[in-house]
């Protein structure tokens, strides 16, 4: 497997719960809202802000414990 871009890593984790369609839409919405840029332009430096923006949505859908576990995993994979 090649090196994944930050938005690809986040997408993969979101899609596991939300499905590819909603994961893609959510990623686009929250990336533009928090960073004013499309997901493809998100860098590793931007990633923490993107994850912070996604947190309320994830907490609502999967609960705080699971949300924290997922975000930790994403953070690890992004080597932040």
């Amino acid at each position: 497997m090649g090196v994944q871009l930050p938005h690809e890593i986040v997408f993969r984790h979101l899609a596991r719960y939300l499905g590819p369609h909603t994961a893609k839409t959510a990623l686009k919405t929250f990336s533009e809202r928090a960073l004013q840029k499309p997901p493809e332009m998100v860098t590793r430096i931007d990633a923490p802000r993107l994850l912070q923006a996604l947190k309320p949505m994830l907490r609502t859908l999967i609960g705080a414990d699971e949300c924290d576990a997922v975000l930790q995993q994403v953070t690890r994979e992004l080597s932040l």
Binding site: L18, I62, G63
Partner: protein, 274 residues
């Protein structure tokens, strides 16, 4: 990878299918009227207990005061109160030496509280997309159309019966409170079918699509139960056959809530393990 294994999915599909088949097989053994009444009461009480267990299992994955956890608890509370009502204050099974008037009052209290909880829980689930900030599929107009059709269908199926029950209330029939509370709760729950289904469609391919799809099917099961009785004259079926069909759908409504709760728990647990 969706977070739910193939085995999980197979179990979730098998639960309502096997339950339905077992119900159809077992009910045929009860021929005598008294035994038959006892069978239906016991069977549906058990199904409601399963429904409650599934909802509480789902809710237990969330912390206190978390939005979806509260919704699951409220729906589970409804199933549990209906189960308790059937066993403690029912017409066929009840506590010994229970005053009939007190039993009737307790039935009303349990049904009103349960249905209020379920209605609020269903509205909460129907609004999750809005609370979480995710988009539903289709244009806004299509979404509204689906919701309006759902509400129209709910009123068409339960509305006339509710109207009649209000008439019984005016005539002083205390038991009509139970019917009115159930019907109003059903109208709200059925109205939530469209947004819950749209949420399931939005999350297709993801682990969370399963609980949402199963909650939708559970509400459809209850809708078909009401439909069976609402149009009993039009079906031109014997009461015997109609009862088998109606109780089949009520059992499916309950057991699908159980499956939905399991799916919710597995979706989250499985994903965190991956």
């Amino acid at each position: 990878m969706t977070g739910l294994t193939k085995q999980h999915k197979a179990i979730l599909i098998a639960i309502p299918v096997i339950t339905g088949l077992v119900y159809l097989a077992i009910q045929s053994f009860f021929v005598e009227e008294q035994m038959r009444r006892m069978f239906f009461v016991s069977e549906i009480a058990l199904m409601k207990l399963f429904g409650a267990a599934g909802c509480f299992v789902a809710a237990s994955r969330y912390r206190r005061r978390e939005y979806i956890g509260i919704a699951w608890y409220l729906i589970g509370l409804d199933y549990f109160l209906l189960f308790a009502k059937d066993l403690l204050f029912g017409r066929v099974i009840h506590l010994p030496n229970l005053d009939p008037d007190l039993a009737s009052t307790l039935r009303i209290i349990f049904v009103v509280i349960g249905n209020t909880g379920s209605a609020i829980g269903c509205i909460m689930l129907a609004r999750v997309w809005h609370v979480a900030g995710i988009a539903l599929p289709g244009s806004r107009r299509l979404q509204y159309a689906a919701i309006v059709v759902g509400i129209g269908l709910a009123i068409a199926i339960v509305g006339w019966g509710t109207w009649q029950d209000f008439g019984h209330l005016r005539n002083g029939d205390k038991e009509a409170y139970v019917a009115v509370a159930s019907n109003l709760g059903d109208i709200v729950s059925f109205s939530a079918i469209a947004p819950i289904l749209l949420t399931a469609i939005a999350m297709r391919g993801g682990a969370l699509a399963w609980p949402w799809a199963l909650v939708t099917l559970s509400n459809v099961g209850w809708l078909l139960y009401d439909l069976s009785w609402s149009f009993e004259r039009q079906w031109a079926l014997s009461e015997h056959t109609l009862r088998i069909i109606a109780e089949f759908w009520r059992g499916q409504g309950c057991i699908l809530a159980f499956a939905a709760g399991l799916a919710q728990r597995w979706a989250i647990r499985s994903a965190s393990r991956n």
